[in-house]
Symmetry: C2
């Protein structure tokens, strides 16, 4: 007798609530439920013929029960659909009347709350499951059980462990159970489209322009925030223990885990308002980029913390080996997922480039969808994180594949993922509202909750302000105080924190975290979401900027004239190293990747060395020779923001720190050499434009107050 | 100890294979699987902290197993995605090179077959499940089982009954099991988008013009076909019994069930070629309309046959009460599902009309999607058939809601459902290819298979030719012999027959049916699909007709001149009753439903009686007053095909049979009175046009040979 292969035996969980598997899975049975009923009917009929002597009445009763259960499944999903429908109609009303104090996600939560209250207090509490407590096994739980019932064999699968205290007390309301989804639905069905859409709809120009800062906020910032929140919460937990408020175990790793999941910001409300008001594009890029990468970091961080298992029995002391293993796991999962996403993106780009699939937008869209989905599966099959892979796949698809698609497919894919994202996001938020009342295992601890609010505030502050300070040392156009305050303010928590928290609510600590996360999401989405518009005007942040367009030249030239002195002075401190790296990447991308993967860019025959001639001719698409004029894609300029400046301003402005100035010289030299050798006009045109824009933009960021006042 | 609420205890099935529930469900675990692993890791970690003394090694082993299983899940879905990707690329190649002998669905099956062979013979046969046969219960199987394992309680759920002979012989290949989906996935996830798309993309003009014939083919035809095939197969089964080829029971109801599921035609291949070659639109409408309604009829028919359970123990004799009950069930389910679909369609139309949602295409599309999906759930919740409801919802949405949508939402919704339909259809077909080798319980019976091929041929012939004969008695423009042959030829079986067959493969009879259905689908899709183009030219069926446009007038006026005599002579025999009914419906639709549900049509204030003035003003949208000019929607004309002719030709041509002639007079009178009273120009313009076109089209159908030669 060995253990089974598929089910996960409820691994020796100490005490507390049933494992997450016990949360029923009504979405899928519901989808499958109709058949259950008909199949039951069918089998009843076919078997009714065969086994005339069997008790037909009993079967009928069972059939009726199955039918009833199926009906409830349908009703529970209908509830969600009605919730979403109601949300959509109310959103429309709000948009129609230009109400901005409540975002659709906040609204979805409110409706969810209301329905949750109705379900909780309005429906009769039926005793849900009938159990038969009968067998006793030796020493292990098996994943599959065969039971001999008067000669017939029935197969059972393990659902999970049940704590002995709960066996008879599982007073359950059928409807409440039905509306409780398996937590993995969130992680494997609802999050991927949201995350993919985030990657795919990234405004690349602004994203890449601020890439350094975004990466710093996302990686360093999340780590700092996680660590600070974790430690503060450990203090709170200690305090609770002293006050006797803690009824079960709560370890340091649990606190760190909480820090990780709650560090995933999701300023969906703020970004929606930014979008609507056309607020400053750089701030938008910083916030959006941070939140997107943030999510990926938080997922991987939380699983690394979970994987932190010190050797030996003293499991919660610090163990350097285990710590470095966790760091290794973090790096491994992250880079693996990144690679997976990038690789499928590149493969899709190659396929769409070398086939004439764009004549058939339906095929193209289907292929795009399948390839993007396969990223998720591929990453999962290799043991990486599908959600993270999907993010980078989205970015790659947007950067390369998008350019190969037909015009129709571009809008099709955008719209497809937009709808999926919209539905998934609003579903999660309305589920959150519902869960506050229907989730059966809440642990409300006022001290923990207050502590958590303080901790996330401090954690966010300790992440935004110091990082911004250090980034400003290196940035040409500084992140102003008002931007920093706005970023501080925009630390909403949303779908990702919720999905990570609901994933495992088995232990007491996890349940407390879940409840707290839920409340934090509510509070931040409602209060912060509602306060965004006042905050924007209070902080004097520009609105009314066309996000795809740079500001009109007259406005900016005025600023440039005004700001030229201090701006170029600040420009001196630009970290040339990072500029050099970005420049290298841009050149590589522009000269090799773009021509290989898309129909744009300079012909490879000119960029590759002569001995690669044949290969270059094969890989270069004929279109490239036709339209040798500089590529006018939205994402091609601006990636070399800081590099440009070096080339043009370099000689006159690089004065402050000698080390980087010498670097600059070599860089600019190298840059111009490469430019000359490969695709002169293209790069030069790009540079000229980028240059002009950047300098003006840099100025705009320096004088936001004058501008807005 | 009572039975549980959700699971279906394996109702006393006599012998044979395990019930369908035993087919694993890897799609969903896969989607959920990642979490399973991480949750396992998480719980292992958190519990590892709590229960340090528990055997950590064992947990680790379990975790690894779960991880391995999850990986296999991902790989199996990846297999399907690769299959689909390959199919898409090959389709592109075929379309690119204008290869028409193999349709994408046929291709998907071939690739599926190849992968099936590889999986079957290329992967090692591992012994899949490890079982623990330990407990003995008293007299019933319970849906939930609590097992006490040395003090810990584990919960198990019932999967189904296992036949005693199979307990130890379930030699199973992991990979084969993984690629075997739960049959209900087909019915509840893959079919609805296919069917909805069919309804939504119905070319209404041609559909409604031939509605009478389509309904006759779909309802009468399917019933006839089901009955004939069922009886023929019963003969075959008798023969097999005599020859000793039958190793288990096979009842008459089983034969009828087979007749029902195999009567669902799915000429997807033929229709695709028709579309591509722009073949005759009326033939297209007949085939498409028949196959769409066909599916609905076949589903409901098969569940009615399943519900046919004679009272008493002699279960397979004819029982009039049970028969009428079955008929009642058929009518009940059908009309209920129809109503559900129509009601949600109407609600969506009202919502999209009375809100200004069309300013926000994303919201509109999401609402449309949700409302259409809710049809499925609503029907299921009420005990009707979701798939059928979704079909009529699609038709209603296309007829009313579509007109209220913004231009962007129109293309968005069309494209969304097009992609879903494309993916679902190709998935089903590639799964079919795979299933031929990976499905574990095939029962190949040459006699049954040959018998089935003969039976479906005869069943189709007995349905097309006699029905066409009777329809031609009443039709103005006859269904010519070449059309009849083409319809006879186009009796492909596809996704619906497969989904119905795989739904229950528990008994020996059902397994034999499943295998036979699979082979029939293969044969018909490949052979008939490949033969469509030759057949079209052999039968002299017009190609190159623009489906949205009527043929150029010069061409047709020539025909009208030629064919006027015999055509109008035949026109005499037009059944005026059906024309009258359609006319009534058209008037009602045009004067009341369209103005209420859409922004088009005459203002209600003119069509409703005066005392409804207030209501009429509320319901009529302001746009209607603005654009009082006749509505030029694609679907508004032509529904009153036969009515028109009466109005214009009536007096001079109605000579042959007096009874219908007198009817004609009254109808035309009534028609013109209503026309005058309500919306003169609109109807009259419509009539004038419809008239001209119809007469010419009627002629075209009469002289297809001259036309094409």
């Amino acid at each position: 007798m060995e253990s089974g292969d598929a089910a996960r035996p409820g691994s020796g969980r100490a005490t507390g609530a049933p494992p997450p598997r016990l949360l029923l899975l009504p979405l899928l049975p519901l989808l499958l439920g109709r058949g259950l009923r008909v199949a039951a009917a069918a089998s009843a009929s076919s078997s009714g013929a065969a086994a005339e002597d069997s008790s037909a009445m009993e079967e009928l009763a069972t059939e009726k029960e199955a039918e009833e259960s199926h009906r409830q499944d349908s009703v529970s999903l209908l509830t969600f659909i009605l919730l979403l429908t109601l949300t959509i109609l109310t959103i429309w009303l709000f948009k129609h009347r230009r109400v901005r104090f409540l975002h659709e996600t906040g609204l979805a939560m409110i409706y969810g709350l209301i329905v949750g209250v109705i379900l909780r207090y309005g429906t009769p509490a039926t005793s849900g499951r009938d159990k038969s407590l009968s067998c006793t096994q030796e020493d292990r739980a098996f994943s599959t059980l065969l039971v001999n019932v008067s000669g017939k064999f029935f197969e059972y699968t393990l659902k999970g462990e049940i704590s002995p205290g709960k066996i008879n007390s599982v007073e359950q309301n059928d409807m409440l159970r039905k509306v409780t989804f398996d937590p993995e639905v969130f992680f494997n069905i609802l999050l991927p489209p949201i995350i993919f859409h985030a990657g795919y709809s990234l405004k690349k120009r602004h994203f890449f322009r601020n890439l350094g800062s975004i990466l710093a906020y996302a990686f360093l910032g999340t780590a700092v925030s996680c660590f600070i929140i974790g430690n503060l919460m450990y203090g709170v937990v200690k305090l609770m223990k002293i006050m006797g408020q803690l009824s079960d175990k709560f370890y340091y790793t649990d606190c760190l885990f909480f820090g990780a999941i709650i560090s995933a910001t999701d300023p969906v409300t703020v970004l929606a308002i930014f979008n609507e008001l056309h607020a400053d594009v750089d701030l938008y890029a910083l916030l959006f980029g941070e939140s997107v990468l943030n999510d990926a970091v938080a997922i991987v961080l939380s699983s690394s913390i979970v994987a932190y298992q010190p050797a030996g029995l003293n499991t919660h002391a610090f163990d350097a080996a285990a710590f470095f293993k966790s760091v290794g796991i973090f790096l491994g999962i992250f880079s693996g997922s990144f690679t997976m996403g990038a690789v499928t993106g590149v493969v899709t780009a190659l396929v769409t480039k070398f086939t004439k699939l764009h004549c058939f937008p339906l095929l193209e869209t289907a292929l795009f969808f399948l390839m993007s989905w396969s990223t998720f599966l591929l990453a999962e099959a290799c043991g990486f994180t599908g959600v993270v892979a999907v993010l980078f796949c989205g970015i790659t698809q947007a950067h390369y594949t998008y350019n190969n698609l037909s015009v129709e497919s571009r809008s099709r894919t955008k719209q497809l993922f937009e709808v999926l994202h919209f539905l998934a996001e609003n579903f999660i938020f309305s589920y959150m509202g519902l869960a506050l009342f229907t989730f059966q295992k809440h642990v409300f601890s006022p001290i923990f909750i207050i502590g958590a609010f303080v901790a996330i505030f401090l954690g966010r502050a300790a992440h935004i302000y110091p990082l911004s300070f250090f980034l400003n040392l290196g940035r040409r156009h500084k992140i102003g105080w008002n931007f920093q305050h706005m970023m501080m303010f925009s630390g909403l928590r949303g779908a990702m924190a919720f999905a990570l928290a609901i994933r495992d609510t088995a232990s007491y600590a996890r349940q407390m975290m879940f409840t707290t996360t839920l409340l934090i999401v509510f509070f931040t989405v409602w209060i912060i979401g509602g306060g965004t518009t006042p905050m924007l005007s209070w902080l004097n942040i520009r609105v009314g900027v066309d996000p795809d367009q740079d500001p009109p030249p007259n406005n900016d030239s005025f600023q440039v004239l005004q700001g030229d002195g201090p701006d170029s002075a600040r420009g001196n401190r630009t970290k040339q190293e990072s500029a050099w790296i970005f420049r290298l990447w841009y050149s590589f991308d522009h000269n090799y990747l773009k021509p290989i993967l898309t129909h744009s860019g300079p012909p490879l025959t000119t960029t590759l060395p002569a001995w690669c001639g044949l290969l270059a001719r094969c890989l270069t698409s004929p279109q490239v020779y036709d339209n040798q004029e500089p590529l006018r894609e939205e994402d091609s300029d601006f990636i070399l923001t800081e590099g440009d400046l070096t080339l043009t301003y370099g000689d006159s402005t690089v004065t402050a720190n000698g080390s980087s100035s010498s670097h600059t010289a070599s860089t600019s030299l190298e840059g111009s050499r490469r430019t000359k050798s490969s695709s002169e006009e293209v790069l030069e045109r790009d540079l000229g434009m980028g240059d002009q824009k950047v300098s003006s933009r840099g100025t705009r960021l320096v004088f936001p107050l004058e501008d807005n006042a």
